[in-house]
Amino acid sequence: MKRILSLALVFGICFVAWLEAQITTSGYVQTYNRMRLQQNGKYTWNENRLGLVWEGNFSDRVYVYSKVRLRAFGLPVVSQTADLQRREKDRVLPWTLEFREAYVEVYDFLLPNLDLRVGRQRIAWGTGDGLNPTDNLNPDDLEDIFDFGRHFPTNALMMTYYLNDLSLQMVYIPVFTPAILPFGDWAEAFRASMPVPPYLRIRSYQDRVLLPENRLSQTSSFAAKVSGTLFSYDWSLSYYVGRDDLPILTNLTLTPSEVPPAYDVQAELVFPRFRVLGADMAGEIMGVGIWAEAALFFPDRIDGVLRIASPAGTHVQKRQVLKDEPYLKFLIGADYTFKNGWYINGQFLRGFIHERGRDELVDYLLVRLEKRAWNDALKIVPFGIALAIPDWSRYRDNFGFAGGPQISYHPVDALEVSIGAFIIEGKGDNLFSKVKQLDEGFLKVTYSF
C-alpha cells in the first residue's frame, strides 16, 4: 500500500510538473540484462528502469532539480503458493522506487558569487576517470561491480564562493549513509578475510552492522575544497572529516557447533571515522591529457576482540583492526586521441575503494581503448580492463583482471543499444581472482526523452 501511495505521489508530482510551465520533465527508459558466460547461462541481471527528472528555474537565481527512479529489478522470489497470490505482486515482479536527488540551488545567495545548494545531491570530487580517492562525500554504490566509481546522492548543504578563477566549496552532510555492497556471488569480491585460525571450519556466519549513534556529532561529515587554475593546470585541495562508508569487521565470536570442529561465527562491523587530505590536478603535456589525484587518509584507530569458545573456556584475543597511521591512495592518468580516431585512456591507481591501511593497498592498472565511427553513432571498445597486482615481485602468482569488449550504437537520436562482455580472470588472493569464473555478457538499451 505504501508503495502504491509513493507511486501515486510520484505521478501526481509529474502531472503537476506537466502543468507547471517552469518545470521541465525528462528521463529515460532502460533495460539491462546480463547472463553468465559459464554456469549454463545463469541469468544474473534483470533490470528495467524508468528514470524521471524534473528541473526548472523559478527565477534567475533559483534552480530546482529532482530525480526518481522506478525500477523493476531481480528475478521472481517465490517459495510458496501465497507468494503467487500477493496483491502487491512484488514476489513475482520485484520492483523499487528510488528517490535519487532533490535539491534547491540559489545563486548569489546572501553575497554576490556565493551559491547555495541544499537537499539530496551528488557532489563529485576528483579528476580521475571513474575512480576518485578524494570523492568521499557521497556513499559508494557498489551494487554493480562493473560500474565501480558510482555513488548515490545524499542530503547535504553545499556552499560555493567564486572569486575569479578560484572557488571555495564548503559541504556539510548531517546524516551518515553507508555504502551499498555488491550482492549475490559478487559479495565475495569485497568480503574481508576473517582473522581466525585456518584449521577452524566455519559452519554459519551472522553479522551485525553498527551504525553510528544518531547524534550530529557522530553522523555528520564536513568537507572543504579550494580549486583554481595555475600555469594552465586546474588543481584543487580538499579536506574531509567523516566516516568510511564501508564497514570494518571488529568483534568476532566463534562458538562451536554441534558438529565439531565446525564453528558458528557472529561478527560485528562498524564504520571507522577518518579525515582525508586530498589534492588533484588536470591539464596536458604535449597534447596528452593528464590528471592526478591523491588522498591522504588519517583513520581513527579501531580495536576489536576475537572470542573463541571451547569446552575448556573462552579464548579472548584483543587485536588492532585499523591502525591510526596515515595511508595514501592515489591515481595518475593520461589520455590521447590518435589522428586515426582511436582513443586511449590509461590510469594507475593505488588503493581501491574498499582497501584500508598501508598494508592493504593494491596497485591497479586501468586501460581503455575506444573508437567512434559514423559521427559518433557507433562506439567500439575492443577492451577496457582493470588489472590488479597486489605484489609486483609475485605478479605471476597473484594477479587479476576484469573487463572486456563493448559496442554501443545509436541508431536514432536518444536511443543507445550496447552489448558487451565482462571477463574476469586471476590467480592468488585479490579483488578479481575472488570472483573469477563469473564472466558475463550483457545487453543494455536506453532511450532518453
Binding site: T24, A282, G287, T337
Partner: protein, 246 residues
C-alpha cells in the same frame, strides 16, 4: 646589365608577392573583424546531421559569444545530450560539462580536432577564434564577387588541416565558403555560409553547412533568435555558469 635587370625583376616579384600576402592578411583581418564584430551575441542553434543515406539527426543548443574569444554552447536536445555544455576561453582553454558525471572537464588539445557531439565540426571549429591569429593568408584569385584566399597554419599552431581555401565576399568581407584540406593536400571538408543578412549593424549567416567528403556526412547549423550587444557579463563564460542547470 642583364644581371641587374634580373635582380630588379626578382626583387619586384618578391615585393609584389609580399604585398599580395599583406593584402591577403589584411583581408583576413577584416574577415575576423566582420564575423566577430558584435560585442556579444546570443542565439539558439539547430544542428541537422545528415548521413550519406539522407537520414537526419537533430541537435539543439543555446549559444553565447563575447568578443572573439569567449563562447559557450549548451545542448537542449536530444534528451541524451541535454545539459552537455562546452566553454571556449582565450589561450585555447576549453571545458566540457557532462551532467551524467556531475563534472566539468578540461579538454586537452588532442580532443580539439575530434568531432564535436557527432557533428562534422570539431571542437576547434566551434571554438571562438580568429582566422588571422592562427593562419597566414595568400591571395589566390580576385573576381567580381570574391577574394579567394589560401590559409596555412602559422608556425606552432596545431591544426589537423594542411590548408584552407576561403571565398570572401568583396562587398562586406564575409567568408561564404571555406574548403579544408588535409595535410596531404586532399580536399576534406567544405563549409558554406548561407542566408547572410544584415541584422542591425552586423552581418550574420543564419545557416552554415559543413560537409565531410571523406565520411560523406554533413551538418547544417541554423541560427535563430539571434540578438547582439546584450552586455553579457563575463560570469556567463565561466566554469561556474557552465554547470548551471537548464
Amino acid at each position: 646589365m642583364i644581371r641587374a635587370i634580373g635582380v630588379v625583376m626578382i626583387l619586384g616579384l618578391l615585393l609584389s608577392g609580399s604585398l599580395l600576402a599583406q593584402d591577403a592578411n589584411r583581408i583576413l583581418s577584416r574577415v575576423d573583424s566582420v564575423i566577430n564584430a558584435p560585442k556579444d551575441q546570443k542565439a539558439t542553434m539547430k544542428m541537422i546531421l545528415v548521413d550519406k543515406q539522407g537520414n537526419q539527426k537533430i541537435r539543439q543548443a543555446e549559444f553565447m559569444q563575447k568578443g572573439s574569444e569567449k563562447r559557450l554552447l549548451r545542448f537542449t536536445a536530444p534528451a541524451d545530450q541535454k545539459g552537455i555544455a562546452f566553454l571556449s576561453l582565450p589561450n585555447d582553454v576549453q571545458y566540457l560539462y557532462m551532467p551524467a558525471f556531475h563534472k566539468v572537464r578540461r579538454i586537452a588539445s588532442h580532443v580539439k580536432n575530434t568531432k564535436f557531439a557527432g557533428t562534422d565540426f570539431t571542437y576547434d571549429d566551434l571554438s571562438a577564434f580568429s582566422y588571422s591569429r592562427d593562419f597566414n593568408a595568400r591571395l589566390l584569385e580576385t573576381n567580381d564577387q570574391f577574394w579567394v584566399l589560401e590559409l596555412t597554419p602559422k608556425p606552432g599552431v596545431e591544426k589537423d588541416y594542411g590548408k584552407l581555401k576561403m571565398w570572401v565576399r568583396r562587398d562586406n568581407y564575409y567568408p561564404v565558403k571555406v574548403e579544408f584540406y588535409d595535410p596531404a593536400g586532399n580536399l576534406w571538408k567544405i563549409m558554406e555560409r548561407r542566408q547572410i543578412t544584415r541584422v542591425g549593424n552586423y552581418w550574420v549567416a543564419r545557416e552554415m553547412e559543413m560537409q565531410d567528403l571523406k565520411e560523406q556526412h554533413r551538418t547544417i547549423i541554423q541560427l535563430d533568435d539571434i540578438s547582439f550587444d546584450l552586455n553579457l557579463p563575463d560570469k556567463y563564460f565561466t566554469r561556474r555558469y557552465l554547470k548551471r542547470g537548464k
